[in-house]
Symmetry: C3
Subunit: 415 residues, 3 copies
């Protein structure tokens, strides 16, 4: 085998492993930000999403998203399972290939599942399990690969010159706007907004879990962005690591400063989401920016976070983890930033970026809205208020997340 091919392929495999662990990052972040009574439910959903995501991507998503050159400029790929027999690269072809077909599939498959996961946090604490799983299946199997194909699969956005390096729009804004549609249909948690216009703060049950999630997501983002170089090129991957890290760091500072000005407290949730906002923001142009540009993009994303979170609460969009702000709004910001900063900056590029993020965001919103609306009609998407009060862990799973009773007392659970 060609050695450079082997190195490039190895890096994509390792990046796959890093993107995989983002699913643990999402699981702990969301679990930390919800109430104790809904933790089993969140963990259950996050286990199922990765399972559903990989299986549907194998069965349909991969070829829908990467249909090959015959579909260039198009709107939709082909419907077929992954081409197992053709996935191996021959030694003769290895010098001109980027990676084996297996590697390409598993790297892209890990990406696909993250998109559905973004939704799960926003709809937490009141969505019914089964409709959510059906939604996830349809969204990750069909909706995500269609818009993904528009750019990465060589579709019409690619043709138009749209640029989204690792998915500020294709993954994050898509997930964020799908989440927004779902939240609108679902409504807020029953005790979130009061009739007098004031709001109930519902704190997450575990800040260590939430913080762990953010660190794991940053960790995985080295694979998410670094792997999107699609080779182990020492300059390109190195540059992406630096821009990604500086933007995340600046996102923390931006959210720290902005939330301190707004509330005069040092708000951990805002700093955590500021890091994520910085990461989402740099994702579209991680290979295009200088160090200072990365810092500016991340810092602005960090400032956006508290403003956006407050804005969504004002308009009574109840998103327990801030996914619409982090992934939706910062996803748009990052996409537009490619037209403002870096090698591609320019008014016409900015226009293209605007069209691309609008098109993908709108499609994701409408697809999500359509699926959720149908599910609402057919089976209902929301648990009843008694179950919501009691918690979904007991309502849906007959289980508690924690058994923290005092030590040393003998408790027979039934007799």
């Amino acid at each position: 085998m060609d050695t450079l091919f082997t190195i490039n392929n190895l890096w994509i495999l390792i990046a796959t492993v890093l993107v995989f662990i983002m699913h643990l990052g999402f699981a702990t972040l969301e679990a930390g930000f919800v109430q104790k009574k809904n933790v089993v439910n969140i963990l259950f959903k996050n286990c199922m999403i990765i399972a559903i995501g990989l299986l549907t991507y194998y069965l349909i998503g991969y070829n829908l998203m990467y249909p090959g050159e015959a579909f260039a400029g198009g709107f939709i790929g082909r419907i077929a399972p992954m081409d197992w027999a053709a996935a191996a690269v021959s030694e003769a072809d290895s010098a001109t290939s980027a990676m084996s077909g297996y590697t390409d599939f598993i790297f892209q498959g890990m990406f696909a599942a993250t998109c559905a996961t973004i939704v799960s946090g926003a709809v937490a604490e009141r969505i019914k399990l089964m409709p959510f799983l059906i939604f996830s299946t349809l969204f990750v199997a069909i909706a995500y690969p269609i818009t993904g194909m528009w750019h990465w699969g060589g579709g019409w956005l690619a043709e138009m010159g749209f640029y989204d390096f690792a998915g500020s729009t294709l993954v994050h804004a898509a997930g964020g706007f799908a989440a927004l549609a779902a939240v609108i249909l679902l409504g807020s948690r029953h005790d979130k907004y009061r009739k007098d216009g004031s709001m109930n703060v519902i704190p997450g049950h575990s800040m260590p879990l939430a913080a762990m999630g953010v660190f794991l997501l940053w960790f995985g983002w080295f694979g998410f962005n670094g792997g999107s170089v699609l080779s182990a090129d020492p300059n390109a991957v190195g540059l992406v690591f630096v821009t990604t890290s500086l933007a995340a760091a600046a996102g923390a500072i931006g959210a720290f400063v902005c939330s301190y000005i707004m509330t005069k407290t040092y708000d951990l949730s805002m700093v955590l989401n500021g890091i994520l906002g910085g990461l989402v923001g740099i994702t579209a142009g991680a290979d295009q920016m200088s160090g200072l540009e990365s810092i500016m993009i991340g810092f602005i994303a960090g400032i956006i976070i508290p403003l956006s979170v407050v804005f969504f609460d004002r308009i009574k969009i109840d998103d327990p983890v801030g996914a619409t702000s982090v992934h939706g709004i910062c996803g748009i910001w990052g996409t537009l930033a490619v037209g403002i900063f870096g090698a591609k900056a320019g008014i016409s590029q900015l226009g293209i970026q605007f069209i691309g993020t609008l098109a993908v965001g709108a499609f994701a919103f409408l697809a999500s809205f359509g699926i959720m609306y149908a599910l609402k009609l057919v089976m209902g998407i929301r648990v009843d208020v008694e179950e919501e009060i009691k918690g979904l862990d007991i309502g849906e799973h007959d289980m508690h997340a924690y058994s923290l009773k005092e030590d040393g007392i003998f408790q027979l659970t039934s007799e």
Copy 2:
């Protein structure tokens, strides 16, 4: 140095790091599944096992397991510490070597310790610390390398044509059957099975910890299976990543469906163990299967989990984390699956697989039984019932896992 050698060696080192973090996966999985009062004890054991495992593997295990060609077809390797002086590969030999001796040792050493860890979950909440540590030392230093040598060290099972790619039998079934022997000798937790034949459900104290464990184990499994290719071959490692992931995903679905049919609830513990069952199941043939075959193997493993867990409870084998089902039963299933699916499928291969898994499982069972029985005679292996009720954290460690008293109250712990 030869570049392909350098790449291959690098991948095995990275795989080593991934297998290492499986020990955190086991630690959090087991900690999550036990009661709050035994958490320090589990963490302590898991810290000591990795320490004991690496040191004994250096001192004796490595050469017992990989004695070299002179021992081909044999039953036992040689007793000697790792050959430090001979571990470096010369530049001249690099083109024909797979990895350096250091790399080989550390990759295999990480594997060895996992085998003893499997036992620790099954015997949790009532085994005495010191005898368990002695057991682990003997098991990982002697028993695991002996059966490991039979196949991977070129022993009689290798000669016979037995196939176990990354250890469904050599690691998982061995650990699972060692666990079974230990549980039989140890007996169930005092409050698990009631005289009227009914059973007490003893819930784990933290589902987030357990879920974290499963994600970390899957994460590490990319190194466990992917590293077992013993090179960075782009087709082979890519294929193994895909089969491993699809089987894990299908394991989740299998356990979801089967446990829902059995109990009409969405059982998180079962889905978590279903993922692990899928991973254990694919491990023997991860390099032999197609995508669909991997899905079938994983799905069946997932179905096995709830059935096996119920079965062991019926026969009063009390295994708090389900290790006998996940590692023992799914380890057998995965080994047999090599004779049913994939390139090696066939009735004679199935027979060989059966003999191999039976031989290794029986040896592990007997070795574990023997060691535990001796320890039982000499020093006792079980804490008394008062300590069991009070919890091993206080009984063995004089420590609580958590101090979660209310904030803002000043508590002097003694005066």
Copy 3:
């Protein structure tokens, strides 16, 4: 691009990712070892430190630490941001380069931030947030790069023949002695030492978090030490993996034995810190030792831990996480061990090691003392005793780490 260059660069990038996750390791370790009422504060600090560390290293630290050959033998580097334009390596130069400038920066930047993190654990539970953040900024931007330059940047210690492979002194002892100075100025927690000379044991709030931290730190240490080879050389990186792991394992055993002799209990905190002590101890000579020497170094480090922890408590240095023992004392031990064991052992080398660790430790101590003293005069560094009793989470962040109230009870937090 040259393939060996590409492999070497790739390994350093992956090592960077591993060192990054050490920040989660520190965050969970420290969070686990503090009281529940100060957990948000610790997490907040750890998020900000990595952000501050990376940004200041970009703006000033990198060139202060690695000023280039013109500064050989000197005491201080040059003040300038990272040279973005010059960071890419041309194809022509790739055969003779170790890694790209981006890769070098981000790997070193991840190291820099760990040094400040070491301090955060020692001063936990009573330091004010803002002065700590200012301290961290100055320490990581200026103090760490100055002593770092003395050895790794080609300064006077390098010229003298001092040897510190991956930072037992430059990172760990520097951090440990900076912590010591800060603790001396800050004073002990108000309820730690009683007037009658006895001591209040203040247990950490979560052993699972602490254990997770140790496993994640070990995990990251493969990148910390392995990446310090600065290439993917199969013998060198493999050797470092083995020595690092054996020392960590022996550290666990050393602390286990020593703490059992001292207290007759199996003390999890000591074993956890013993592992870290072993890791810190091997860091200066990880590429110089044989397997047995690594075991000896780690074992002695493990023995040091309980002795040092007791010693610091005797002299009323209140360090909630044991950072001065783990990083300070074991950092010195590891540095001296290079003069005692391995290829460089010898009385003159031992003398040089002693001078080096003394010089760096003294500089870090004085720099930390100076910065903290100035902050104490200007703004105060310690929260008042009411806030300390109530907890810094409420005092500084108006937030609880956990909301663990009973499920199913509807609580309106305000009306």
